[in-house]
């Protein structure tokens, strides 16, 4: 029911032309559409009932994000509701009840400021510090690729209270207003039309109560929230694959060369058939991950890496094959396919790429002692 409602709304309100228009005007997203989606209850589907939502399971995330991906939605659902909102729900559900409710209502956008210029895909790589400076605890550091960081009123900033760059222990999360003294923000548009920001923290003063959870113990919550966000992102990629596939099937039937539809050429039929098989594999991988959100950490994380690796591989295949089968038209900005391709491609640059997750899957599976030890040392 949620799926049907969401698809109907997006079919109706979220055409490729409308999306292009909003981005061409320099907006990060369409505030009106975002509000309307919040009214439909889409954000509530991301949160569990005990946190004020009505969903929150892996399946809920899969349903919502597959539809968002199908339409190429750039509105701030993933970074704000799933990732940052998810952390609020894990670390301080009672204390942050109001803020979570505002997220569900579409009244607040929050961003996790965690990745740093040198951290690439390592969750533990944090060098920003929260430390005493002249009798006042302050935050210092630089965060990058902060999803919707320039649109967020509130930032969830990771910083070290102890340890070195790759230590799992010692990382804390702090709620910081985007307008605090010492917070700098450079927003930018990404290749796929989404928006991110670089956040600088220059002696940002911290008060009691801004830290979520116990000091230095945020890594488990960060990992769990990233597991949910990775599921959402993979489901979004699945939706983009489905959209790209549909456009390609239509095009192969309608485009004529040498007097016949190009879909009548066996060379293309076989490639499309292979692609279809791979997309079904991608769907199964997303279902696997959705079903293991509540599993023990090791099982869940193995599925995170398995699914993200497979989605990265299939995403590249679908992106490249759909363009190739279209020919030049598939490369134009005017045509929806190129936007799905951009998103599919960039999905492999978020939360770890195929190589990162292949290595991580091997380590988590314990098939390589050397890498396993290395990984244990970092957990």
């Amino acid at each position: 029911m949620l799926r049907d409602m969401l698809r109907r709304f997006l079919d109706d309100r979220y055409s490729h032309e409308a999306r292009r228009q909003v981005l061409a005007e320099g907006h990060a997203f369409d505030m009106e559409v975002f509000g309307a989606l919040a009214e439909l209850g889409i954000l509530g589907a991301v949160f569990a009932p005990e946190h004020g939502g009505y969903g929150g399971t892996g399946t809920d995330l899969m349903v919502v994000f597959e539809e968002l991906g199908r339409a190429g939605v750039v509105e701030p659902f993933l970074g704000s509701a799933v990732l940052a909102g998810g952390l609020l729900a894990i670390l301080d559900p009672d204390g942050q009840r109001d803020l979570i409710q505002q997220i569900i209502n579409g009244e607040a956008i929050i961003s996790l400021a965690h990745t740093e210029p040198q951290s690439r895909y390592d969750l533990t790589h944090v060098t920003a510090r929260a430390q005493d400076q002249n009798g006042q605890v302050v935050l210092n550091g630089t965060k990058t690729h902060v999803q919707n960081g320039a649109q967020a009123g509130t930032l969830l900033v990771s910083a070290r209270e102890a340890g070195g760059p790759f230590d799992a222990d010692g990382i804390s999360l702090f709620l910081v207003s985007g307008s605090s003294d010492g917070v700098g923000c450079i927003g930018y548009i990404n290749v796929d039309g989404t928006s991110s920001a670089r956040i600088t923290l220059d002696a940002v003063p911290l008060a009691q109560g801004q830290r979520l959870g116990p000091p230095g113990q945020a890594i488990a919550a960060l990992e769990a929230a990233h597991a949910r966000a990775t599921l959402a992102l993979c489901a979004e990629a699945l939706g983009a694959m489905e959209a790209a596939k549909t456009l390609t099937i239509d095009y192969l039937q309608e485009r004529k060369q040498f007097g016949v539809p190009i879909g009548s050429f066996q060379a293309l039929q076989h490639r499309l058939a292979d692609m279809l098989i791979e997309i079904e594999q991608a769907r199964s991988a997303v279902i696997n991950l959705a079903g293991h959100m509540e599993s023990d950490r090791l099982t869940r994380e193995r599925h995170v890496s398995a699914t993200k690796n497979l989605i990265g591989r299939v995403g590249a295949l679908v992106a490249e094959e759909c363009i190739q089968m279209h020919g030049g038209i598939g490369m134009t900005d005017e045509y929806a396919l190129s936007h799905h391709v951009r998103r599919l491609t960039m999905v492999d640059h978020i939360f770890g790429d195929t190589d990162h997750h292949l290595e991580r899957f091997i380590a988590l599976s314990g098939t390589s002692d050397a890498i396993g030890k290395d990984d244990d040392a970092r957990q």
């Binding site: 990745t115 210029p117 040198q118 690439r120 895909y121 390592d122 990058t144 690729h145 760059p165 790759f166 450079i186 930018y188 548009i189 990404n190 290749v191 796929d192 991110s196 670089r198 004529k256 060369q257 040498f258 190009i262 050429f265 060379a267 293309l268 590249a316 490249e320 363009i323 190739q324 020919g327 030049g328 490369m331 134009t332 900005d333 005017e334 190129s338 391709v341 951009r342 491609t345 960039m346 492999d348 640059h349 978020i350 790429d353 190589d355 990162h356 292949l358 290595e359």
Partner: protein, 398 residues
């Protein structure tokens, strides 16, 4: 076969390398190295530099101002120019139109059209593809009707690369709609300042408008601008597609891309060590280098055959397929190497602006746009599917 270069060829290479080191402006070199977009004047200036040296028209006869290099010398130039991160030579006038004029044009046409290619006064573009004629190029419908001493042209061309800079276009036009589709096509030279010619840019997936649509609305073209015979244009187009294609493998581009990639892999940290030491990335890098080692020899084998006067036929199809796949793979690896820093879209940086904040290392902003842009390699100039069909038919006899 001999895989070594002669002392003369090595001396030639050394001379080219010296020239490139001394004459390629550093800012242009950096733009090419980082995948930034060149301005029209930067491309023109580089052409002028090469022309002053007599090296712009590599394969032309000396009497027309060319260097008269053989295929191996041209290959050495491509390698060295790519290694030095020189701008590519815009091929449409120099490497595409000129050979057709040498083979099928009149002496008057050569005298009229060749000098302005060298001087840069004429910037040519290619009017082949149409919205309904891509892989099936011979189904083109742009019509040219003879009217006294003119042709009147109506129709539309598309995917016209750098057409926004061009002032002349060579076109395939239909002059006999009743003949078999390959037999009613003519090769016509059109001044783009003629009334009725409109150019509209097409923005592509990388955010750049590198290609254009060109519309012809009752455009009057002097009949003297017909190359060769009326209705023989398909023969000339095919000649153009199978000659001058020794660089089709783009080995020089791949060499340069591999050098960049190795540098990036050595300087990008992943999990506390250089990315080049990550076993998965190292394996990908090694695999593409192994392919490229063989490709270099495949290319050389076919180039030296061409230098002995054996025109490349089906070989150019093989070089195109494998060469373009390699270049695409290299661009995918560079994108992968950039990690999260591949995400920001920074047009100011790509256009060479000074104020753009790159957000990450200098190679990162062009990594994704470059990867997207190179999707074109397996589509244009006869898609890789068309090349495979040619291989199946001509080499395999299927």
């Amino acid at each position: 076969m001999d895989l070594t270069y002669t002392p003369e060829q090595e001396a030639f290479r050394a001379e080219l390398r010296r020239f490139l080191a001394e004459n390629l402006p550093e800012d242009v070199r950096d733009k090419v190295r980082l995948g930034k977009r060149l301005t029209k004047s930067e491309m023109q200036d580089w052409h002028a530099t090469l022309n002053a040296q007599g090296w712009l028209a590599m394969s032309w006869p000396r009497k027309y101002g060319g260097a008269d290099w053989d295929a191996v010398q041209r290959q050495i130039f491509e390698e060295e120019a790519c290694r030095a991160y020189a701008p590519r030579i815009v091929p449409f006038g120099l490497k595409m139109l000129a050979p057709v004029l040498f083979e099928f044009g009149t002496e008057a046409q050569r005298q009229r059209f060749l000098p302005p290619i060298l001087s840069g006064d004429h910037w040519w573009c290619q009017g082949y593809s149409e919205p309904g004629a891509g892989s099936d190029l011979a189904s083109l419908r742009t019509r040219a009707v003879r009217d006294g001493d003119h042709y009147v042209v109506n129709g539309q061309k598309t995917w016209t690369t750098l057409g926004q800079h061009a002032n002349w276009i060579f076109c395939l036009v239909r002059t006999d709609p009743d003949a078999k589709k390959q037999e009613g096509i003519s090769f016509l030279l059109i001044d783009m300042k003629t009334p009725g010619v409109t150019v509209r840019p097409i923005v592509l997936i990388d955010g750049e408008a590198e290609v254009n649509e060109v519309f012809f609305d009752n455009v009057r073209v002097p009949a003297e601008n017909l190359v060769g015979e009326e209705n023989k244009g398909w023969t000339y187009a095919k000649y153009l597609l199978t000659h001058e294609r020794t660089n089709i493998a783009g080995v020089g581009f791949s060499d340069a891309a591999l050098a960049t990639l190795k540098h990036v892999a050595a300087h990008t940290m992943a999990g506390g060590k250089p990315l080049g030491q990550n076993p998965h990335f190292a394996a990908r890098l090694a695999q593409v280098e192994i392919d490229l080692l063989a490709m270099r020899t495949t290319n050389l084998r076919m180039v030296s055959a061409a230098a002995k006067g054996q025109a490349p036929g089906v070989e150019s199809s093989m070089l195109k397929v494998k060469g373009t796949l390699l270049r695409q793979e290299l661009s995918a690896l560079l994108r992968r190497a950039a990690g999260p820093d591949a995400m920001p879209y920074l047009p100011d940086f790509l256009e060479g602006g000074d104020n753009a904040d790159p957000q990450g290392p200098e190679h990162a902003p062009a990594a994704a746009p470059g990867y997207f842009n190179l999707r074109k390699l397996s589509i244009f100039g006869g898609s890789n599917e068309i090349q495979r069909a040619i291989i199946a038919k001509s080499a395999l006899g299927l």
